[in-house]
């Protein structure tokens, strides 16, 4: 069981971000930080290291793999979320669980559980 402490959500669609934020709170994470841009995500990581993270792959036309690398270097477990079907991640992230939008709380929980 991962430690359900803090969490980071990177999602550029606010309505979706709030929904994920609520799901994570329901799943026991507190506090949950929401970033809607890559810059915001990096700024968050400078201030604290979350217990887990959910990263939307496509953030306003850019990819969130840079943030993913930062998470790997800090040893933070994370899952990807994407609106695309079978997204081809770079070699380093092939093994990362990827949620396909839309997903519900149970699916998010299962993906996070997979870290065990």
């Amino acid at each position: 069981m991962i430690e359900r402490t803090s969490a980071l959500v990177l999602e550029d669609e606010p309505i979706v971000a709030f929904a994920v934020e609520d799901m994570l709170i329901d799943l026991g994470f507190d506090p949950v930080h929401v970033a809607t841009t890559l810059d915001e995500a990096y700024r968050c990581l400078e201030k604290f290291t979350p217990g887990a993270a959910v990263l939307d792959v496509n953030i306003r036309g850019d990819r969130s793999y840079g943030v993913a690398e930062a998470l790997v270097s800090r040893g933070v477990p994370f899952v990807f979320a994407t609106g695309y079907g079978e997204a081809e991640h770079p070699e380093a992230f092939r093994g990362v669980s990827t949620l396909t939008k839309p997903y519900d709380q149970a699916q998010l929980n299962a993906a996070l559980e997979a870290f065990l």
Binding site: E13, I15, V16, A19, D22, T36, Y84, T100, P102
Partner: protein
């Protein structure tokens, strides 16, 4: 012999007893017998013959019977030849004869002989001439030897003279001509050379290495053999210096001591043979080029390579110094020719002249093959009608021999023009014309093929591009649908996670879906590229407020929003409207909402300032718990705009102030 003379039969001779011989006769006989040189004396009335041993050998079988016999009897067969000489001697005149031919019969057969001899008179006691004395030598062998040498020499000279190869005999270190045969005369244009040195006789050989070769052969004593050696010679009287080829040998001639005294030059004029060989070689080469070009063109679908093969083949076949292909291109000014490929010259040499115009030379007759061949384009009447003329770049690329042919497609369209040039005049022949016409027709069909192939390729590429775009579009659509579903899911999740009654939650959810749909409709009208802030607000207000929308005034300059930002704006405005309708200015009959915005420039960046001001509604109190609405307005819009959003529940009415940087125009 002396014994024999003493014992002569007195009766058979008119001489009488030797003891009674005149003193002069006795002394002559004494001289004779003591000499080993052939001698005889003819004495007395009958000219009786007395001789020595050496003369006996000349007499052959006539000896010894001839001794004491009359001269006339002994030499009966040659008496007629001798008579004048005998008579002269008897009259007191001595005579001397060299190599006198005499046909003798001394061995039983007639024999050609030659003698050198002298007849001199011999006098008696009283001074009267009593006989003649002869000292003689037979020169038959010598004469025959000389004759044979002469005949041999004549035979050889004749042989040399008529020999098919050329021959010349040069003597002395200066190589003076002693003898040349007819073939040699033909080689040098029948010039008189005998007695002249080679440098005097054949001055055109200077700097061709032949003088030096002869010097080397003379000095070294080693022969030199030349094969297919080029030589420039004056072959006709007053004619030009011509190129010839010779096979030859310089053979040193040595004397008995081995010292070189001259050089015998012998050889064959192989000019014609070489010309024939060269022509055969040229034919073989032509065939090889044609064959290769045909093979290359038939399998070549790349236009650039077709052009290159054709131009290079043309240059190789005609011996041109420069070959070029000009593409016939069409633009607003009509047809013109553009240099496409060049062989044998620098492209820069053509650059100065710009695209060639369709001069008379370049486009002489649309009906014919269009081929133009000019031995000297600079003096061609077809050239010069336009200025500057094509093809004669006057300083950098001097062209005189000129050959050009259009390349026409099956449909008769002129694809381009092949051009070949040479700085020397009259370098292109009728045969070259034929070759170039053949090449041009091969090129035309290769062009047609390449063109078809290129068109097909372009169509395939276009189709592939279209298919790739379709795949991209489908992916994009899929993504957008999934994102929208995620938004709908988010809306649902947040709309139903409330303390409100289920019916109210359903109504809120429905209204939010409406707002989302309105925003999507707006964006769809704009191809999902952008939306104006004014339109986004207008559509959101209309969807949420219906009739009461007329009480909302929205004013401000044009601001362009990216799609996702427009959706967030629409959703936030929707929440503001809903709140106003439920609790604020639009909840009574008279309240109003004013939305005003402006753009300010600070530090080179544009900032948006917007105020939502409600007035005339019931007194406002802040809600006890903030729900989806305020979350949407304060957090979502703020983070979407990367700006500040404040929502104030002022007693006179809700006031929302938004300050945000505008994205830099791209």
């Amino acid at each position: 012999m002396a014994q024999m003379m003493r014992e002569l039969d007195q009766s058979s001779t008119a001489l009488g007893s030797p003891v009674k011989w005149a003193a002069s006769l006795q002394s002559v006989v004494s001289l004779m017998v003591n000499s080993r040189f052939p001698m005889f004396v003819a004495w007395g009335e009958e000219l009786s013959l007395l001789y020595n041993d050496a003369y006996a050998a000349i007499l052959g079988e006539k000896h010894p019977r001839a001794l004491g016999r009359p001269f006339e009897e002994v030499w009966n067969e040659i008496w007629d030849d001798l008579t004048p000489l005998v008579e002269s001697a008897l009259q007191g005149r001595a005579s001397w004869l060299e190599d006198l031919p005499l046909t003798m019969n001394r061995h039983g057969y007639d024999e050609a002989t030659w003698f050198t001899f002298s007849y001199s008179p011999v006098r008696g006691e009283s001074g009267e001439i009593c006989g003649l004395f002869c000292a003689c030598t037979e020169t038959t062998e010598k004469v025959l030897a000389i004759r044979s040498i002469k005949a041999e020499r004549a035979r050889l000279e004749n042989l040399f003279e008529q020999a098919p190869g050329f021959m010349a005999m040069l003597s002395e270190p200066e190589h003076t001509f002693e003898f040349v045969n007819k073939a040699y005369q033909r080689l040098i244009g029948d010039r008189p050379v005998i007695g002249l040195t080679i440098r005097e006789a054949l001055p055109e050989l200077v700097d061709q290495g032949f003088y030096e070769l002869l010097d080397t052969v003379y000095q070294s004593g080693q022969p030199y053999i030349g094969r297919q050696q080029p030589v420039r010679l004056q072959r006709t009287t007053d004619g030009p210096i011509e190129q010839a080829y010779v096979d030859f040998i310089y053979q040193p001639v040595k004397d008995a001591d081995g010292k070189v005294t001259g050089i015998f030059a012998e050889g064959y004029d192989v000019t014609e043979q070489r010309t024939v060989e060269a022509r055969l070689e040229s034919h073989a080469r032509t065939l090889a080029i044609l064959n290769r070009t045909g093979t290359e063109l038939s399998s070549e679908l790349d236009l650039d390579k077709v052009v290159r093969h054709v131009t290079d083949a043309g240059v190789a076949l005609t011996g041109a110094q420069v070959g070029a292909f000009f593409y016939n291109t069409k633009d607003a000014e009509g047809e013109k020719l553009t240099l496409y490929h060049l062989s044998g010259a620098e492209r820069s040499q053509f650059d100065k002249f710009g695209p060639p115009r369709e001069t008379d030379v370049f486009n002489p007759d649309a009906e014919s093959s269009g081929l133009v061949r000019s031995a000297d384009i600079t003096s061609d009447p077809r050239y010069g009608n336009t200025d500057p003329p094509f093809g004669i770049p006057e300083h950098d690329l001097p062209v005189r021999s000129y050959l050009s042919v259009p390349v026409k497609s099956r449909s008769g369209e002129v694809i381009g023009e092949l051009f070949f040039g040479h700085e020397e005049p009259a370098m292109f022949s009728e045969a070259h014309e034929e070759l170039i016409l053949g090449i041009a027709s091969q090129a035309a069909s290769a062009f047609d093929n390449a063109q078809l192939y290129r068109e097909a390729e372009m169509e395939i590429a276009q189709r592939k591009k279209f298919e790739a775009r379709q795949v991209l579009l489908i992916n994009e659509l899929n993504h957008r649908v999934k994102n929208t579903l995620a938004i709908v899911q988010g809306l649902a999740q947040q709309s139903f996670k409330t303390d409100l009654p289920t019916e109210d939650a359903k109504a809120s959810f429905g209204a939010r879906l409406n707002a989302l749909a309105a925003a999507h409709s707006l964006l769809t009208r704009q191809n999902w590229e952008a939306a104006l802030l004014s339109e986004t607000i207008h559509d959101a207000v209309t969807a949420a407020a219906g009739e009461t929308a007329s009480r909302i005034v929205a004013e401000g300059p044009d601001v362009v929003l990216p799609p996702q930002t427009a959706v967030t704006w629409a959703m936030a405005i929707h929440e503001l409207c809903t709140n106003a309708i439920k609790y604020g200015a639009l909840s009574n009959e008279s309240g109003t909402v004013t939305v005003r915005w402006s753009i300010a420039e600070t530090k080179g960046r544009s900032h948006l300032h917007l105020e939502w001001t409600e007035a005339g509604g019931p007194a406002v109190t802040a809600p006890p718990k903030r729900g989806f609405g305020s979350r949407m307005i304060e957090r979502a819009l703020a983070s979407e705009l990367q700006g500040d959003v404040t929502l104030n529940y002022e007693p006179s009415g809700v006031r929302c102030v938004i300050d945000a940087p505008l994205p830099q125009p791209k």
